[in-house]
Symmetry: none
Subunit: 248 residues, 2 copies
DNA sequence: ATAGTGTAAACCATATTTAGTCCAAAAAAT
DNA sequence: ATTTTTTGGACTAAATATGGTTTACACTAT
């Protein structure tokens, strides 16, 4: 007994992370292995997995066990199975923020904002507290004070719209809008900022901002909605104009 | 306190280390090792640990000791054990997405979808290719075929709406909608799914889906918009009803 | 002496695995 | 067009694996 005690001690020094060496068999272990293979991208979206009978040979187990493992993956929504055809991956791998930001065009961004921001306005008018309005007012002053150069204006503008998103009191909305904002700073937008954000347009955007703030503070939903649509439509128009000018 | 005073001059000096440091090989030491292995992600969520008899061999100890260690992990809420099946990890490692998903209420989710999905419909009507429509049709058939149980319906429903998002040809929109969908599977929604997704409502949702598909295929923007608003308004109504019922 | 811990072995109830067979749908070959 | 092959779906009965429980014994520290 005592000898075993000491053996355990020496064993421990040799293998500090012992449990990792233990692999789990059975359908659970196979499901985990396949799951990791899919998540690691070994099998891409819509690709076909090996047939059940084939997997049974590879994993040196019976077909029933493979079926059990695949059933779990199906429950997780990672694969779809079709008689006579095979088992196909339905799991979509998430790309990193930076990647999506790099391939997102400013026009795609505006299209998304045209969906999100009017809803933000609706929820803001309904849910904004006095504190939210105050935070928005400060953001407004800041963006108005940063109207000199395109870079700082763009940053302050994003902050103002984020303050508006926070008025919704909807955490998911704020989280989403933050992600959207990130694509603004990393994407192709940076290249066009200088040419689009001329003083005249900045002045117009600021007028929109101020009116937007006032209408939300007054809880005037229709006027606020009109303003945000004007704002984004104008931004889209300026963008399309810039693209046209560029390609000419 | 007793012997130590008496023998403090003899061999007591030979054991300066703490009792915990000495008993690293006992059940508590094994529990700590397994706990660490789980926290390090060697065994992921819902994965199975090696069987008790197997662990006993690996750790060169008896099954009783292993059981004692596992009992502690169970008390910590890190594992769940089932007769005839095994010991499964219940500890969830933190990830960026799960955090926001856990605090997002289903109502917040609907509010966000009410902003995004009508815009998806607009862009889908404008930009969907024949291939997109076909993909949407397949998703429609799938969701109609998965209307038996709430779990599979919910997943197929998410896929249908994602297929719709892909019709926009806007990568940022697709990416955003994927993130929104993720909160559906991890958040508080899972707890309410069963009570909300009764056959009658699933039938109504399916009618919406089919009409939505037809109107997008026909490029009838107004009808498609009406449908998506009906769809989400009804979903919100069902949700509010469930919450009210719950609190009564 | 006593309580606590570890080892060992046997048995129980349940769950899983296995090794088959047959079927239906899709795909491939003819 | 028809036949053949491949694929997943469904089911069965026996064998195996799993955690839960009990019992007996040895060692240690109090």
């Amino acid at each position: 007994m005592r000898q075993q005690y000491q053996e355990i001690g020496s064993h421990e020094d040799a293998l500090p992370s012992l449990p990792e060496a233990v692999s789990v068999g059975g359908s659970s272990g196979i499901a985990a292995k396949l799951r990791r293979a899919i998540m690691d991208g070994a099998y891409g979206l819509n690709e076909r997995l090996p047939a059940e009978r084939e997997l049974a040979e590879v994993f040196q187990t019976s077909r029933g066990t493979i079926r059990e493992a695949l059933r779990r993956l199906q429950e997780l929504g990672m694969v779809d199975r079709q008689i006579g055809s095979g088992t196909f991956v339905t799991y979509r791998q998430f790309s990193e923020h930076t990647e999506i930001a790099d391939v997102t065009s400013p026009l795609e961004l505006i299209e998304v904002r045209l969906g999100i921001e009017p809803q933000i306005v609706r929820l803001a008018v309904a849910n904004a507290t006095a504190m939210d309005i105050e935070r928005m007012r400060k953001a407004l002053l800041k963006v108005e004070g940063a109207s000199d150069d395109p870079e700082s204006f763009s940053r302050a503008d994003a902050e103002f719209h984020l303050a508006m998103a926070e008025c919704t009191r909807n955490r998911l909305m704020v989280w989403l809008y933050q992600l959207v904002n990130e694509t603004r700073s990393h994407g192709q937008w940076t290249a066009m900022k200088e040419s689009i954000l001329v003083p005249e347009r900045i002045g117009q955007y600021n007028a929109h901002h101020r009116h937007l703030y006032n209408m939300i503070a007054k809880r005037d939903l229709d006027a606020a909605l009109d303003t945000i649509y004007d704002h984004l439509d104008k931004a889209r128009g300026d963008l399309v104009g810039a693209v046209r000018t560029r390609s000419n």
